[in-house]
Symmetry: C2
Subunit: 327 residues, 2 copies
């Protein structure tokens, strides 16, 4: 049995880069443990140095292959690399093909790499909070580059990929129309577009489509300091990954050289405050409404009253009880 160590004691051990301490504090962050709150506040105040890279794409786009390659190349350049994967199909959680799994196992044996897989279920609502806490823990532990991998399906997942200094969106050639359609919402968040499987004959079509989309300015927004590149790479031939790493570096430099980076971090701070507040509000509401909801739901079932009127009653009563409790 392992002795219980207070979260406050874990912080200096995290700062010393101790793997077991990192893993433990992450688990407590993920569980939303009250005991860990002050320690995580401490972590937050110390963090902010690492380059955080979000990588997203639809299932089957080749995200995990890219993450593994990037991690290895960044390692070779001397970076300590943290990986936080929020992806039900990621190789850490069991969905992917054997090749990915082997690549990941190699990485996992490297002490300069820390891999954390997060469940999308269960952590629901608090997922963004848990991921960003994990990033801060890795940051304080001395990881200089942190990769967040999320599957580009679902608003939460897309928002998490956006909450990074540099966001990569991976597209694969030849995915079915139906899978591509889900993707529509994630193209606009890219700082760098990657077309995977560029050895395939239909990859050029995907490259051209993305470039045309950018040329049309559909997703241009205010990114004048940064021209979004579209890069191909192939896990099969190994081509293109050098260019991806270079583009990531160039985006980092552009972010630090202009107010691009600060604007991004400011937007992330707003997002993080909002998510944390929403999470807290939902918890308070759930606690205050638990005893009230069943009777109201029974009136709804009978169709004696309508959902909106009952919701007003529930919210108003629950907030009053919550306020009374806090007086």
């Amino acid at each position: 049995m392992t002795r219980y160590v207070a979260s406050a004691e874990l912080v200096p051990r995290v700062a010393a880069g101790e793997t077991a301490a990192i893993a433990r504090l992450m688990s407590r962050a993920e569980a939303g443990a009250e005991e860990a709150r002050e320690a995580l506040a401490d972590i937050y105040r110390r963090a902010g140095r690492a380059h955080v890279i979000g990588i997203t794409g639809v299932p089957g786009s080749g995200k995990s292959t890219l993450v593994a390659r990037l991690a290895r190349m960044l390692r070779e350049e001397g970076s300590k690399v943290g990986i936080v994967a929020v992806d039900p199909s990621s190789p850490y959680s069991g969905g992917a093909i054997l090749g990915d799994r082997i690549r990941m196992t190699e990485l996992a044996l490297d002490p300069g790499v820390f891999i954390r897989s997060m469940a999308t279920r269960g952590a629901m609502g608090g997922m963004a909070r848990a991921v960003l806490d994990a990033v801060d823990i890795l940051d304080v532990a001395g990881f200089t580059t942190i990769l967040i991998e999320t599957v580009g399906v679902g608003q939460d997942e897309v928002e998490i990929a956006k909450a990074s200094d540099t966001t990569l969106v991976v597209s694969a050639p030849g995915l079915g129309d139906e899978v591509q359609a889900i993707k529509a919402g994630i193209l606009e968040i890219a700082d760098i577009h990657i077309v995977s499987k560029s050895d395939r004959s239909d990859a050029n079509r995907t490259l051209v489509d993305l470039k045309q989309m950018l040329a049309l300015g559909v997703h241009a927004s205010a990114k004048t300091e940064w021209a979004i590149p579209v890069l191909g790479c192939s896990g099969l031939s190994g081509e293109g990954f050098d260019e991806v790493v270079q583009a990531v570096r160039r985006h980092r430099e552009a972010s630090l050289a202009s107010d691009l980076g600060l604007r991004r971090r400011s937007r992330i701070a707003q997002f993080r405050l909002q998510k944390t507040a929403e999470n807290l509000l939902a918890q308070r509401f759930a606690r205050a409404s638990a005893s009230l909801a069943p009777a109201l739901a029974a009136r709804l079932l009978d169709r004696r009253a309508d959902p909106y009127s009952l919701a007003v009653e529930l919210v108003t009563t629950a907030l009053r009880e919550d306020a009374d409790e806090r007086v």
Copy 2:
């Protein structure tokens, strides 16, 4: 130009089955229009007769083909059929293959069928509310069977499929591992499992897998009144759809003959109250916190304070302002 008609005036026209009135009231429900609130309350109190069928599956599983077939077969039996599709890849919103689109166009020309496509973006947060309002509107308009089609990706979409009297989960043989992995969360909500593309040689494997899963009782829960069937069907050969319609009818009968149906409706009422209340709470909080958040986010950006402490400050202050406003 069309004259603006008050929502209250639309209700009797909806009840008379007038297509334009149905479409207008749905748009107002989707937009969350305050003016429509009393009319929707009225609609809710009158609704509750239709058989609501939820149909879900991952992209490419063949949901839309099943929906089109079911709709046509139910029409032939004399039902008036409403379809509410919440699916970025659905043929109504542009993602699907030509064959589906043609099938749907035929259906759309039938006055006994009403098809409504809902955007998943924009309606975020309020999507469940908007879908269930649309179902009630169709119910009051005399549609006896209402199909809700949602892509089985994302918690909101899965919850909507569950908020029906009978839930069908569609699996396709031979989808990639990565796509299948997303599916894991939706298998447990099925009242009826459908394996599409049953003409394919690998379909039997999928049928057997699902049956084994059910035999192992992994997702059995308390459904003793109902043995979950696993049925194959093929859009290509047309085989299997009769059995699907029969299974849907049997589930309806089992629901009405035992307290299975009442328990289900009771759970839906709880879900609906909760979603409506969460939506209302989020709106109130957004309004009350809008002026407070920027200053707090700036302190977060500087890492002078941590997310949790600032969230507590934001929530507490916003709720106090909201309460003061209501005194």
